[in-house]
């Protein structure tokens, strides 16, 4: 099987590739947003303790 046939997906290219692309996009968002949520929470905690230290 050559690359062109593979990409053509037997005439279904316009449906198969957008499906996989959208899935990949959403997975990327899920991973990045989950990591960001955790990072932001860590940063917020750090800030809070820094403020408490300087305030006392």
């Amino acid at each position: 099987m050559n690359v062109r046939d593979f990409l053509a997906m037997g005439g279904y290219a316009a449906y198969v590739w957008p499906s996989y692309a959208f899935t990949a996009l959403v997975f990327t968002w899920m991973v990045l947003s989950a990591r960001k949520a955790h990072r932001d929470a860590l940063a917020a905690a750090r800030k809070r303790f820094a403020r408490a230290r300087s305030g006392s």
Binding site: Y20, T23, H38, D40, A41, A45
Partner: protein, 245 residues
């Protein structure tokens, strides 16, 4: 049993354990999905009825499954939170919502692409599609309701009630293809007696199912860690944790 339950309710314990197992889940799940995609796109033969278009199934079916599974996890966690006043359970429930909404979006969009080619329409108000769309709105409603309260406890309780009520939608989605005459085909994999698809087609699908579930675990643990930190703000164990790093 009670010790185990008690530990599950302890935020520092949950934070630490979740941090340890997350990379494992992420990598194993990622590898399974990579293998599943390769198998689904390259190794599996074209379907004799649906041609190459059936390959959409490898991302559609696991996403659709995850959209339901995530909701059940969310509703169960919210119920546990409501009954036992368990804060960690609320953290789990809150963490499920954005992940579940994302899986539902994937299921709807890939299903729509499939539908356009196979049924000739992007959308049809049939039972399966409509109930899945309602699921998306349930996730959005749950998140909006949480965001609407300033008080964490009220947000937890009100959203938990919504999550519990919304559970009725889950069996409706699952059995919609049986109860109503829908455009959507019934499941071909869960027919336990004789799965009606060939092994070369089935194996990548199974890899995808496991991969999606395991990656969901990694995503959930990461979000739960963030939620736990926000809820426990000011706690000594967080001070110690930050002191070390």
């Amino acid at each position: 049993m009670w010790l185990w339950f008690h530990k599950l309710g302890s935020p520092p314990h949950v934070y630490r354990i979740a941090g340890k197992i997350t990379p494992w889940f992420g990598w194993i799940g990622g590898i399974l999905i990579a293998a599943g995609v390769f198998g689904g796109l390259v190794l599996a033969p074209a379907d004799y009825q649906q041609g190459e278009g059936f390959r959409i199934l490898y991302v559609h079916a696991p996403s659709a499954w995850m959209s339901l599974f995530t909701y059940v996890v969310m509703a169960v966690a919210a119920t546990i939170g409501l009954i036992w006043r368990m804060k960690v359970a609320y953290s789990v429930a809150a963490s499920c919502a954005p992940i579940g909404a994302a899986f539902t979006a994937v299921a709807l969009v890939t299903g729509s692409l499939w539908g356009k080619k196979m049924w000739g329409t992007w959308w049809e108000w049939d039972a399966r599609l409509t109930s899945e769309l309602i699921l998306l709105f349930l996730y959005f409603g749950y998140m909006a309701l949480r965001a609407a309260y300033d008080d964490q406890q009220r947000a937890d309780r009100a959203s938990a009630v919504l999550a519990m009520v919304g559970v009725v939608n889950i069996p409706i989605i699952h059995y919609s293809v049986v109860w109503w005459n829908t455009l959507h085909q019934p499941a071909s994999v869960t027919k336990m007696a004789a799965p009606s698809i060939a092994p070369a087609m089935l194996v990548p699908l199974i890899l995808m199912f496991f991969g999606f579930n395991i990656v969901f675990g990694a995503l959930l643990f990461t979000r739960v860690r963030g939620e736990v930190l926000l809820r426990e703000r000011g706690a000594d164990w967080i001070r110690e944790l930050l002191g070390k790093s």
